[in-house]
Each structure stands twice: as structure tokens, then as C-alpha cells.
């Protein structure tokens, strides 16, 4: 999995690529730790290039979400592929995360929530 990120109006947009399993989830957790240590608190996770996940990957995503929230931050997800959205629905995690269709909408919501 390739992790890339950029800043958009104070929101850090992280793009994931490939499968999201436990190993990749650990890498993502380490990236969140680093970015939060730099003072970043608002995150968007772009999942449009994520084509598979499993229960361990979901658990790692929840762990990252809790880590961000415990730092008084926000994390939104965008662009879930139908197969990934279905897994979120099966596990009811679609009710736990804020999920948007694109980065513009997600960044706007996060920027708005800081005002």
C-alpha cells in the first residue's frame, strides 16, 4: 500500500492505495502518530484506490479514528468503492465514520466544523 498525503486548508488528506489489512493499518497508524505529533488534527482519508479490506484492517482504522478523536481531532472518509462500502455497512461502521463522496465536500465539512 502506498500512503501519500497533502494539505488542503488545514486539513490533511491521506490517500491509501491497495488492500487495507492489519499490516497496512499499522503503517497508517504510524503515519497518524507522526502527523499528530506535528500538530495536525483534521484528516480526510481517501479510500478510492482501496480495493480490499478485512476485519483486522477495519479494526486498525477504528484505532486510528479513536487516536485522532482522543487528540480532539476529526477524521472523515471519502470515496469508498462499492465493495468497501458494503463491508462498512455489514459491520455498521458506516454509522461510526463520517463518509463523504469527495475530498471537496469532506474538507468543507471539516473546515466548517472548526469555526
Amino acid at each position: 500500500m502506498v500512503l501519500t498525503f497533502y494539505d488542503d486548508r488545514g486539513v490533511t488528506v491521506i490517500a491509501l492505495n491497495g488492500g487495507l489489512d492489519e499490516t497496512r493499518g499499522v503503517e497508517l497508524g504510524q503515519l497518524f502518530d507522526r502527523l499528530m505529533a506535528e500538530g495536525r488534527r483534521q484528516f480526510v482519508l481517501d479510500l478510492k484506490a482501496v480495493d480490499s479490506t478485512d476485519s483486522a484492517g477495519l479494526a486498525m482504522l477504528v484505532r486510528c479514528f479513536k487516536r485522532v478523536r482522543s487528540g480532539v481531532g476529526n477524521l472523515a472518509l471519502i470515496a469508498l468503492q462499492p465493495s468497501i462500502r458494503r463491508i462498512f455497512e455489514m459491520t455498521r461502521l458506516d454509522r461510526s465514520f463520517d463518509i463523504y463522496t469527495d475530498v471537496t465536500e469532506a474538507v468543507q465539512r471539516l473546515v466548517g466544523s472548526q469555526r
Partner: protein, 141 residues
């Protein structure tokens, strides 16, 4: 009578799980099973096999994982056997969304992905998990 059958036996080790998953994908693709059903079964089998390696064989010398695939018309049956002590699956109710649980999704996910999930325990002789999945795309002529 099954129209297609295949079996794979591997050591019950975590590093074998991707191999099992790929083998299952390849076999089902060869049998012209729909990509949706292949994806669901690949994930379900991954979850079961990970459970076997991480929990079933955790405190003992790992035995084997035996995966048997069969296709009966539009029904795919996957049977997974291990030699770990009998595992009693929880009712697999999902964690509440507001609980933000960092686990507990595996078996609940498996139950959602397949049409039928059956676990049989054989005491010290192992476990058998049977998954049934209907491939609605298959048209019987």
C-alpha cells in the same frame, strides 16, 4: 453430485493465508463464478483461516488447514478443516457502532458474507467450518 471439486492442504500458519486466498480466487475464477461471490468467499475464508492460525493454533504446534471447494450448480460450498481444539464460535453479534470496537468484526462479517455458516467441533480432533454461497449470476440451462 458436485460438478467441480478441489482441495488444498497447507500448514496452519498465518503466512499461508494469502496463499489460500489466492488459490480459492483462482479456482473459483476457473469455474466461472461471479467476481462478487469470489470476493465474498475470499474474504470469508481469509477471516476463518486467520482465526485458525491466530487462535486455534495459538498455544499448540500448528496443525494443518484443509480447504475443500465444491460447486453444485449455482451453490458454492467451502469446507475448512483444522486440527485445533474445538472452538466455540460466539454468536457473533456485531459491536455497537457507537462502541468503536477495535475488534470483533471477523465472524460477524463472515456470517454476513455467506448464505450459510456452520461450525462443527470434534473435541480434540479439530473443527469443521462449512460455508455455502449461492451465485445468483449462474443461469441453469
Amino acid at each position: 453430485m458436485a460438478s467441480e471439486m478441489a482441495t488444498l492442504t497447507v500448514p496452519g500458519l498465518l503466512e499461508q493465508v494469502p496463499h489460500i486466498r489466492q488459490w480459492l480466487r483462482d479456482m473459483l475464477a476457473e469455474w466461472a463464478v461471479s467476481v462478487e461471490v469470489i470476493a465474498d468467499l475470499a474474504l470469508a475464508v481469509t477471516e476463518i483461516c486467520k482465526n485458525i492460525t491466530l487462535h486455534g493454533y495459538r498455544d499448540i504446534t500448528p496443525g494443518i488447514i484443509d480447504v475443500r471447494l465444491a460447486k453444485y450448480g449455482d451453490i458454492i460450498r467451502v469446507t475448512i478443516l483444522d486440527t485445533a481444539p474445538t472452538f466455540i464460535p460466539p454468536q457473533a453479534s456485531l459491536p455497537l457502532p457507537q462502541a468503536l470496537a477495535e475488534g470483533g468484526y471477523g465472524l460477524a462479517l463472515v456470517r454476513s458474507l455467506v448464505d450459510e455458516f456452520v461450525h462443527d467441533g470434534f473435541g480434540s480432533r479439530g473443527n469443521r467450518v462449512t460455508l455455502l454461497k449461492k451465485d445468483f449470476r449462474v443461469i441453469q440451462l
